[in-house]
């Protein structure tokens, strides 16, 4: 190989040869979870060790089936899927904490080529996977994985935090086995499910409070961050053009969300939609996608009443010890580029593979 070429190739080669980051996904799939999941499975920089599912967007039975489907859609049936908690740790014990939530906020639909696409369907419109979920519950798996002397794990949690909450309640020491937890949850100036709370935190405030206080490094992608990097029609078209199943699924979801948000909760930039959960994976691939990140001291309100599930940020000058990196802004173009890059590379790798196998 000519020296010059080698010199140019070096940085890229180093990236490729670097051992991929080992991550665990904890999801309530969910269309935006599905996009996060497909991106993570397709990106060579990441090695998805396991996927845990949890209640949230829909029942855990559905989120587990959807997770298997999403992995299968990108050709994967080898990543173990651990079914997680069916409900919150304690919240449902108290009848009065089941504050009714306006449904339409979370369920929008749109027409694409005459087909109705839902923003948060109970069952994802994807082929059923031949893969079965594991027997072991997610929380039990976390304990065995994180207590063992294996390499530390990075956890991407984009649903209610019940599984990690349960595992940490059983053994708080497992926090030492965690490299980082990247969470989609909470909002500083934004909320969605109630006047004060974001849905993932609201669905299990106690678990969220346990996780935020566990001592492991945390990056919190808030609703403020995901809304600030809402994707546009141009982004949608750019992704759709790639034409792979993952790209089309993503483009369809952006479309459904753009229409639903315009109707139900219009954003500052008209015609855009946030793909919340995918931002967490995008951050792992390129941290610069988050454009405003600060150290903060945060917890989650566990009281019944109007502030239940609210992300509490200590804004005092003499605030408590910082326990996480609070992300409140992100770059939509960068986010789109990251997704495009992953989908494109996966496509060309696949084509290379085809050519090779043809040879």
């Amino acid at each position: 190989m000519p020296r010059l070429c080698r010199g140019i190739c070096q940085p890229a080669e180093r990236v490729w040869k670097m051992e991929p980051k080992r991550i665990v996904l904890d999801v309530d799939t969910g269309t935006d979870d599905a996009i996060a999941l497909m991106t993570a499975l397709l990106a060579p920089q990441l090695k998805v060790e396991a996927i845990c599912t949890v209640h949230g967007n829909t029942t855990v039975e559905n989120t587990t089936a959807n997770t298997l489907k999403a992995a299968y859609a990108v050709g994967r049936t080898d990543v173990p899927v651990y079914p997680g908690a069916a409900g919150p740790m304690v919240k449902r014990l108290i009848p009065s904490r089941a504050i009714p939530v306006p449904e339409p906020i979370l369920s929008g639909t749109a027409q694409i080529d005459g087909v109705t696409v839902a923003m948060n369907p109970d069952e994802l419109p994807l082929p059923v996977s031949p893969q079965q979920a594991e027997d072991q519950p997610a929380a039990v798996w976390y304990l065995s994985r994180l207590r063992s002397a294996q390499k530390k794990a990075t956890i991407v949690a984009t649903g209610a935090l019940t599984n990690l909450g349960l595992a940490l309640a059983i053994d708080p020491g497992i926090a030492d086995g965690i490299e980082e937890i990247v969470i989609m949850g909470g909002g500083v100036k934004k909320s969605n499910i109630t006047a004060s709370a974001e849905a993932n935190f609201f669905k299990d405030p106690e678990a969220a409070a346990i996780v935020l206080g566990c001592g492991a490094p945390i990056t919190l992608c808030t609703l403020d961050a995901t809304h600030s990097c809402a994707l546009t029609r141009e982004h949608e078209l750019k992704i759709r053009k790639i034409g792979t199943p993952a790209a089309v699924f993503t483009a369809n979801d952006i479309h459904a969300r753009r229409e639903s948000y315009a109707r139900l909760q219009p954003l500052e930039r008209a015609g855009t939609a946030p793909i919340h959960d995918a931002l967490c994976v995008a951050y792992l691939l390129d941290p610069s996608v988050l454009t405003q990140v600060e150290d903060a001291c945060c917890t989650v309100d566990c009281s019944a009443g109007i502030s239940e599930g609210r992300l509490q940020v200590d804004t005092r000058y003499f605030k408590g010890k910082c326990n996480l990196k609070l992300a409140t802004q992100a770059d939509p173009d960068r986010m789109c580029d990251i997704l495009v890059s992953v989908f494109e590379k996966a496509k060309s790798a696949k084509e290379r593979g085809k050519v090779q196998s043809a040879v």
Binding site: I94, S96, I99, A304, G305, I306, E308
Partner: protein
């Protein structure tokens, strides 16, 4: 003569209590205050005026608070009671408390100031001690004593219809009056005045039977007749949904407090206790008594039993004094 102020959410048993207080020669009824409770404040005020008017009394009526102190500020504490099935008897719907009492609409008027304002003004000026008899939620009384703590020494006793130890009604743990405004109740039981609680344990023991209603009617007075009708209505509802130990009987809670002022021995097994009120969740509105050997400081008196025969005798004596004859 014992001076009293009566605080009511009229209400069927409140009506019996008001009549008893007006008619008693041992009691000087200074005022009647209405409060939000069994029904909304417009209805409890109107019903109170109707009863006062029915007996031709000139006792002033003050409109009280229209909601509990803080409870309704919290969405998780809004009442979620299931609608109770209406009881239909002889083609008529019977409730524990009708929206409006079945007596002529009030032509007399309520006083121009609110009940808490009245309490403060009255107590500041009082030269003799007064007893407060609160048979609805404790919102007015708590509000007044929060506004001015200096009037405490004017209060001889606060007699409360509320709470329950072995018996509850609105939830597995709570009696309605306390449950409706738990913070007000907690404030009152800890306010330092002599507090006597007349809970469901006493009022269910001192029940009124259909035979007792007959006795009321035989008196031939307006108050006797009206009390009989109210008690019969309550008996129908009790029989249907919370039958008592004595068959065909009803608790007429609020009137027992008035009877107690006339003859304290109508309450039996009155014990000094440490009492706290539960605020949230399953314990909301519960009167929690400390049963331990190493109890916390005792702050009120709690009646565990009542004498139903004595209770009816007292009521009969009072209704017999009514100068207005019945049908």
């Amino acid at each position: 003569m014992r001076k009293i102020i009566l605080d009511v959410d009229t209400g069927s048993d409140d009506a019996v209590a008001i009549m008893a207080a007006i008619l008693s020669p041992d009691i000087q009824l200074e005022a009647v205050c209405s409060v939000d409770g069994n029904k909304d404040i417009d209805k409890t005020t109107e019903n109170t005026l109707r009863v006062v008017q029915l007996l031709g009394s000139d006792v002033p009526v003050y409109r009280g608070c229209r909601a509990p102190l803080v409870k309704f500020l919290c969405p998780d504490r809004l009442p979620r009671r299931g609608e109770s099935k209406p009881i239909v008897k002889d083609g008529k719907v019977i409730q524990m408390h009708a929206d409006y009492l079945d007596i002529p609409a009030a032509e007399i008027k309520e006083q121009p100031i609110s009940a808490p304002e009245f309490y403060v003004q009255y107590l500041r000026q009082a030269t003799e001690p007064v007893t407060i008899v609160a048979v609805g939620p404790l919102t007015n009384v708590a509000m007044a004593l929060m506004m001015d703590g200096t009037v405490m020494d004017k209060i001889e006793e606060i007699v409360i219809m509320g709470g329950g130890y072995n018996i509850t009604n609105v939830t597995p743990t709570a009696e309605f009056n306390i449950w409706h405004d738990p913070e007000a109740a907690q404030f009152i039981v800890h306010c330092g005045a002599k507090v006597t609680l007349v809970p469901l344990d006493a009022t269910h023991a001192a029940c009124i039977t259909l035979d007792d209603c007959e006795r009321f009617r035989k008196l031939g007075t307006v108050s006797g007749d009206f009390a009989a009708a109210l008690c019969e209505q309550r008996i129908a509802v009790h029989d249907d949904s919370q039958p008592l130990a004595v068959p065909h009987a009803a608790a007429v809670h609020d009137a027992l407090c008035i009877a107690y002022l006339i003859d304290p021995t109508v309450l039996k097994d009155v014990r000094e206790v440490h009492c706290d009120i539960g605020f949230r969740d399953f314990s909301e509105g519960q009167t929690i008594l400390d049963p331990r050997y190493y109890t916390e400081e005792k702050n009120c008196r709690f009646a565990f039993d009542g004498d139903r025969f004595k209770f009816v005798d007292i009521l009969c004596d009072l209704f017999a004094r009514d100068k207005k004859s019945g049908r």
